[in-house]
Amino acid sequence: METTKLPPSSPSSPTTSFSVPSAEKVDGFPRRSMRRARQRRSHSSSQFRYQSSQVELTPLPLLKDAPVAELHDLFCKKLQQCCVLFDFLDCVADLKGKEIKRAALNELVESVATSRGVLIEPLYPEAIKMISVNIFRTLPPSENPEFDPEEDEPTLEASWPHLQLVYEFFLRFLESPDFQPSMAKRYVDQKFVLQLLELFDSEDPREREYLKTILHRVYGKLLGLRAYIRKQINNIFLRFIYETEHFNGVAELLEILGSIINGFALPLKAEHKQFLVRVLIPLHTAKSLSIFHAQLAYCVVQFMEKDATVTEYIIRGLLKYWPKTCTQKEVMFLGEIEEILDVIEPSQFIRVQEPLFKQIAACISSPHFQVAERALYFWNNEYILSLIEENCQVILPLVFATLYRVSKEHWNQTIVSLIYNVLKTFMEMNSKLFDDLTASYKVEKQKFTDATPLFSSVDSMNQFTKLITVNSSTT
């Protein structure tokens, strides 16, 4: 079989295995450096493997020196030259070849960026082929299966010196004034886009940054691919939510979506609403929410600003997925709610105020002071305050008992003083209602402390256990 003949500089080439221990001694953190070294090894070999034999590169004349008649031909040759892949784990292997490719890529980037009339039709397939060969690869297994993007250092792509230039070229290519979407669409097709999207799982943030800009351009210029791109992003998110819970590029994809949503036509299509309800809202359940929460909240607010009628879906959705044990996430949810309330229409507010303020009351009584504090900050927001004031009759009864109780019980002084401020605000808003509620609260409390244990309920429970035993013995 062909693959038995591995390329000459296969992973176990002596140069690499010797370079590791020596680096280790200098480094002083042997485990870390070994981890890196090993990682890099697997990192580009996955891509490198498929090159059947190593081609010796010879430098070509410079593009800028080429006569106009030969320019395109030379450009094409350079593109073909850049299809050769190098082993970057072995940092000393084929240095000459690497340098030739780097120089060629630099020239290509510069040429596409600065000179006009370079991009002619025959170059499109060659350019896309060069890009595909270089960037499309199965991403290597993560060195750290429990990779935590917030805590751990990402594994960086070893072949970045070339890869970056290829991405740069692609970007310049898309942004060139000569770029013709009608020609490009034959080569930048669905399959191409799908592979591009899969690369968003890369652990290297530099790569994801390029991909984000590139995908944005592709979405902007190739209209025929838009629906397909949205659908595939959907699929990636759904897999992330319901299957793997792992995808490194969620934040980047959401950032692109933020601007896509911005451009949606009104009225919103059913497809877009479905995306909101069945993808964006469930994304809030992810364990790694903190990594992409800002982008997600932005998308959600974009939707509301487009079409106020989705407000109720959003708020009820968030309430459904409200974190039960993770206070850090709870604070994020409260932040998002505030962003939403900032732009909510008063008519929509009325529709959700009841369940919403029940949740807010629950947050105020959280023993975690950051959660309580975040909820109480709502009363510092002018717009929210005006909404509360307009609906004081509904909201105050919902939160009163909690405020009253927590003001007496909370361990944290900041919370207590925040609550006093809120109570004061309410008192000023509607003193009559406030007094009524205070009075009835006291009566309730009195009743509660006076009451003897509810025998009736104990009784019914006993009766019930009896019934269960009877039933289970008959079956």
Binding site: M1, S46, P141, Y242, F464, L467
Partner: protein, 647 residues
């Protein structure tokens, strides 16, 4: 409005028709609608009780429609509901009415949350068996069809798991429809559905007629195995095993092998990993001929794969693969094709690969026989015993028994010793712990002389390790060694050392003596326990550290049954009674516990306890005793408290 109507009338009916016994059921039904999720959950978990109380008729006409409407609940509640409904057949009136359960389960099979959906599918699969063939066609199959053509991916995903359970029992026209639906799902637009279909492909193939396997399944298999997403392709590898098992040998080459070869060389490491992981199954499924011609080179490639994950998965299969090679030229294949790759893996750059190999490599010696093992494998074992990664060394040591059978352990012992010593002193306590666990096995194979000479000191050194888990394991190890080498050996070699530690200035080491005695007394027998161990234990009852003293009480309780009754009465009892008046409450507690448990041996009449009736028990709150303590112990302790307080 329907949601509201159902339970209201249910609870009213349950409470108001003059039958008070149904009142609790009304409460439960009310709780199904309670705002508190926990209450709803509790109520759902008692659903069978509710159904039982309502009777089959009303369960069908009132409860189930109500449940079908609650599908908008929290996932937690839905999960409980999906599970309950799978066991509901009798509660709706038996198989005749089982189809009543389909509507709520159908809704549950379409929800977003995967665990709920999976549970609903599981329940549907279960109750499908209780449908009569007619009901299956009238009720079940239409449900599968509806799910298969649902517009959101969730319902289509669920449908994939239901085809195989109804296919065998329906008419041929319906069968054709089912096949068509499955085919459609295999080329679904969303990868989620294709993944679900691919994962059920093997299962579905098993229930199909052979002709359809060849005509339908193979094309689906080929398509899924070349899907654009590697997450789909890798699932096809699993299906490959089942499909290959179903087909006659002569069709394998044309129908399955092209796809399998392609998978083994897939550009995605995930697919190659899957092939490596399923290699033994694949090997069995395709038979010896194809194995020889195709799988051997494929396996070589996987062992040399550029991705460490793949190599590790393949290395794990080395032994099984070699074992299952056709016997006529097994040795030749291993020697010329597999062994060279194995040799390379021994010095792999990735420790997971090496340790995967180390966990199976010893198994090759039984297959290759004595001479080959000595000539070819032994150097590898020795190299791995010196590996920088402790896991590799451990894996070799833990599998020594295979080699022992073939060449005897002497060949290895010279290299073994430094490896063991190094592991025994490893900085990571988990490594030390692992090697301790192999000590009894090693001792058995190396023999008592070698052990005394080389390993005994190690075993004793572990007793004063600074990690408790190691000391504990070392204690247990001693017990196993005594079981192996006998009491006499114990008396001569380890007991003196263990007892010597009783005078150690460190109280943790003194306690280790007690723990060792606990472990060893039974294996050493009455003589040694009474004559040598007991005096030490009794002497330690005067220790200044309370932890030592209460461990003395515990030890006495433990070794009591081994001692003779004279020693118990004259020596143990007074000491325990003294400890029972100790100033430390824990010492007191354990001394009293020991007394009460040894009371049988002290020849106190145990049936005194019977005098304690339940009303008396109430004066002694049980909460002062650990919940795990058996009831009789608690009684016993209370009896003693009574005695003491009466004095």
């Amino acid at each position: 409005a329907a949601e509201e109507g159902g339970p209201c009338s249910l609870s009213k009916m349950a409470g108001a028709d003059g039958d008070d016994s149904l009142y609790p059921i009304a409460v439960l039904i009310d709780e199904l609608r309670n705002e508190d999720v926990q209450l709803r959950l509790n109520s759902i978990k008692k659903l069978s009780t509710i159904a039982l109380a309502l009777g089959v008729e009303r369960t069908r006409t009132e409860l189930l429609p109500f449940l079908t409407d609650t599908i908008y609940d929290e996932d937690e509640v839905l999960l409980a509901l999906a599970e309950q409904l799978g066991n509901f057949t009798m509660l709706v009136g038996g198989p005749e009415y089982v189809h009543c359960l389909l509507p709520p389960l159908e809704s549950l099979a379409t929800v977003e949350e995967t665990v709920v959906r999976d549970k609903a599918v599981e329940s549907l699969r279960k109750i499908s068996q209780e449908h009569s063939p007619v009901d299956l066609e009238v009720h079940f199959e239409p449900l599968v069809k509806r799910l298969a053509s649902g517009d959101w991916f969730t319902s289509r995903t669920s449908a994939c798991g239901l085809f195989s359970v109804c296919y065998p029992r329906v008419s041929s026209t319906v069968k054709a429809e089912i096949r068509q639906h499955f085919r459609t799902l295999c080329s679904d637009d969303t990868p989620m559905v294709r993944r679900a279909a691919a994962s059920k492909l093997g299962e579905f193939a098993k229930v199909l007629e052979l002709d359809y396997v060849k005509s339908d399944i193979i094309s689906l298999f080929t398509a899924l195995a070349s899907d654009e997403q590697d997450s789909v392709r890798l699932l096809a590898v699993e299906a490959c095993v089942s499909i290959a098992t179903l087909l006659p040998q002569e069709d394998l080459e044309t129908l399955v092998m092209p796809t399998l070869r392609q998978a083994a060389e897939d550009k995605s490491w995930r697919v190659r990993y899957m092939v490596a992981d399923k290699f033994s199954e694949l090997q069995k499924a395709v038979g010896p001929e194809i194995t020889k011609n195709d799988l051997v080179p494929a396996f070589q490639n996987l062992l040399k794969d550029c991705e460490a994950e793949v190599r590790a998965a393949a290395a794990n299969k080395v032994k099984e693969f070699c074992e299952n090679l056709p016997e006529d030229n097994r040795e030749q294949i291993i020697m010329t094709h597999i062994l060279p790759c194995v040799k390379e893996l021994v010095s792999d750059t990735n420790q997971h690969v090496k340790s995967a190999l180390a966990s199976v490599i010893m198994g090759l010696s039984t297959i290759l026989g004595k001479d080959n093992t000595i000539e070819h494998l032994l150097p590898l074992f020795l190299a791995q015993l010196k590996d920088e990664c402790p896991e590799v060394r451990l894996n070799i040591i833990s599998n020594l028994d295979c080699v022992n059978e073939v060449i005897g352990i002497r060949q290895l012992s010279q290299s073994l010793l430094p490896a063991i010593v190094e592991l025994a002193e490893d900085a990571k306590w988990r490594v030390r712990l692992a090697i301790i666990e192999y000590m009894p096995l090693l001792a058995g194979q190396l023999g008592v002389e070698f052990f005394d000479e080389k390993l005994n000191t190690l075993c004793m050194a572990w007793l004063i390790d600074h990690v408790y888990a190691i000391r504990e394991a070392a204690t247990c190890n001693l017990m196993k060694l005594v079981e192996k080498f006998g009491a006499e050996w114990a008396q001569n070699t380890i007991v003196p050392k263990v007892l010597g530690m009783a005078n150690d200035p460190n109280y943790l080491h003194r306690m280790t003596t007690l723990f060792c005695i606990n472990a060893l007394s039974e294996a050493c027998g009455q003589e040694i326990t009474t004559k040598q161990m007991l005096p030490v234990v009794l002497k330690m009852s005067n220790d200044q550290v309370a932890n030592v003293r209460f461990n003395v009480a515990k030890s006495l309780q433990k070794i009591g049954p081994v001692l003779d009754s004279n020693a118990l009465q004259t020596e143990v009892k007074p000491v325990l009674e003294k400890l029972a008046t100790d100033t430390d409450m824990d010492v007191k507690y354990f001394a009293q516990e020991a007394i009460s448990l040894l009371c049988i041996f002290f020849s106190i009449r145990p049936n005194l306890l019977c005098l304690l009736n339940t009303s008396q028990m109430l004066y002694f709150p049980n909460s002062i005793y650990p919940a795990s303590m058996p009831f009789c112990t608690v009684c016993c302790l209370q009896q003693h408290r009574l005695n003491w307080s009466n004095k």
